[in-house]
Assembly symmetry: C2
Homo-oligomer: 273 residues x 2
């Protein structure tokens, strides 16, 4: 199925597009099954929040309608919704009032090995550190060179994800996932006020855990917290939850524990319906 | 004159382009007069350095030949040479060995008010801080949201540029220029090992100053250094040098001093020939 640009079939953007020139935009990666986008409202909320913080003038209801129509035609797959500040001549100054450009692309649902979800994964210990930039923290923006550098650190398929820390060594996230730790029955995920992407599945799991009576919080987490964790998992809005079984470089390992399994079932339900 | 993509006329890039998806690329902004790119070797050297650090597989001699041919056809203007890691399916992992994409665009030489160079400029004191990321420091890469946010802080044309600091409050650069301070006849520009763009004109001026017997160095600079400076100027490879006359928010002002004027003449010669 073709990509759409501003609601019309299209496969290319103008060289003046500020997404290309400056990474001046945002994106959402959305699982689609049965013609419906999963976690739709959370994706739209994060996108709208990002547009407010970057002062990008997006017609959110229009983006929502296009996304729904695109997902219905696609049926099953992953939809990437990209929003850029539109086109402008050379120069950092945004053209005031320029409408955002809405781009919809699709790819098949990724064929991850079933073992990732069943037995769990090993994390590569990335050396690339995330810079601390509160103005961009939490956003899924188009400035993603740090993730490109981190993902290029390993080719060994034994590692399904990489562990990323910030410049102070605090645990932040995976390269394309968020990170959760369980200790004494309490669920914790790194606080993302200085860097990191506030994942849609992360937000949903925090709420769902609390609804199930599980204590769940965000906090500054360091390597010591990883050492003391009873369970560790990663999550995103495409694959749900993967138990983390080890970080070989740190000589750490964990079982795929009961709280991880419980929330994994919750995530599966969220993505399947 | 049309843009070129990989040596052919073109005005759009595929949605799979990693420059658009992740800001996964670099650019150079080059003044062209009489059909020749100014400071050609320095631009190519910085581009090649960026490609090495980001592991982007650019054919630099080919990029050089295309740039020379494009500049010759253009005659006069500004050429933007953009290099992206090329296209890839969704995902941060670079496709190994994918050739870089070379994009050449042009715009007229900007019509800055003559007063900027003659009387000097005022700097807006930007609140946007540059994150410290040594892996990207010095490069003119395509992740430029910090510059977009900083440039959006002011609309008043009384400010020709903005002063940018890093997360620790150290002076780094302008939004689209580098910064120099003069004190007791010594020329100093911020050290850029944690953030900032190592400008082509900045590098050239450091060398040219030394060749003229002027002591010139890079250093960590803070606001106190600005207060103690005898002269301040900004530079880039399109406009050359602008004396900085004031930072009104900091209640600081300077004359357009003799060393600034001397180097301004040097920069003008570099750009005119």
């Amino acid at each position: 199925m073709h990509s759409w640009i501003d609601g019309q079939p299209g496969s290319a953007v103008n060289l003046q597009n500020r997404g290309l020139a400056y990474g001046d935009g945002l994106f959402e990666t959305i699982a689609v099954r049965g013609g419906r986008p999963s976690l739709l409202q959370r994706h739209l909320d994060r996108l709208a929040m990002g547009c407010r913080r970057l002062a990008i003038d997006l017609d959110v209801p229009l983006a929502r309608d296009e996304l729904l129509a695109y997902a219905a035609q696609l049926g099953e797959g992953v939809v990437k919704l990209m929003v850029t500040r539109g086109d402008s001549p050379r120069g950092y100054a945004p053209a005031p009032g320029a409408p955002a450009r809405r781009i919809l692309q699709n790819s098949p649902l990724p064929a991850y090995p079933a073992a990732h979800a069943e037995q769990g994964i090993s994390l590569f210990d990335c050396q690339t550190r995330l810079a601390r930039q509160p103005l961009l923290a939490g956003l899924k923006h188009l400035n993603r060179l740090e993730q490109v550098l981190a993902r290029a650190e390993w080719q060994d398929p034994a590692y399904a994800e990489g562990l990323m820390r910030d410049a102070q060594g605090l645990l932040i996230e995976g390269v394309y996932s968020n990170l959760f730790l369980v200790r004494d029955g309490v669920l914790t995920t790194p606080e993302l006020s200085h860097c990191g992407v506030a994942g849609v599945m992360r937000g949903e799991l925090l709420d769902q855990a609390r609804a199930l009576g599980i204590e769940a919080c965000t906090a500054e987490l360091a390597q010591a917290d990883l050492q003391q964790a009873d369970e560790v998992f990663t999550c995103n809005s495409v694959y749900g939850i993967w138990p983390v079984r080890s970080v070989p470089a740190l000589k750490l390992d964990w079982p795929a524990g009961p709280l991880t399994r419980k929330l994994q079932a919750v995530a599966r339900t969220l993505l399947d319906t």
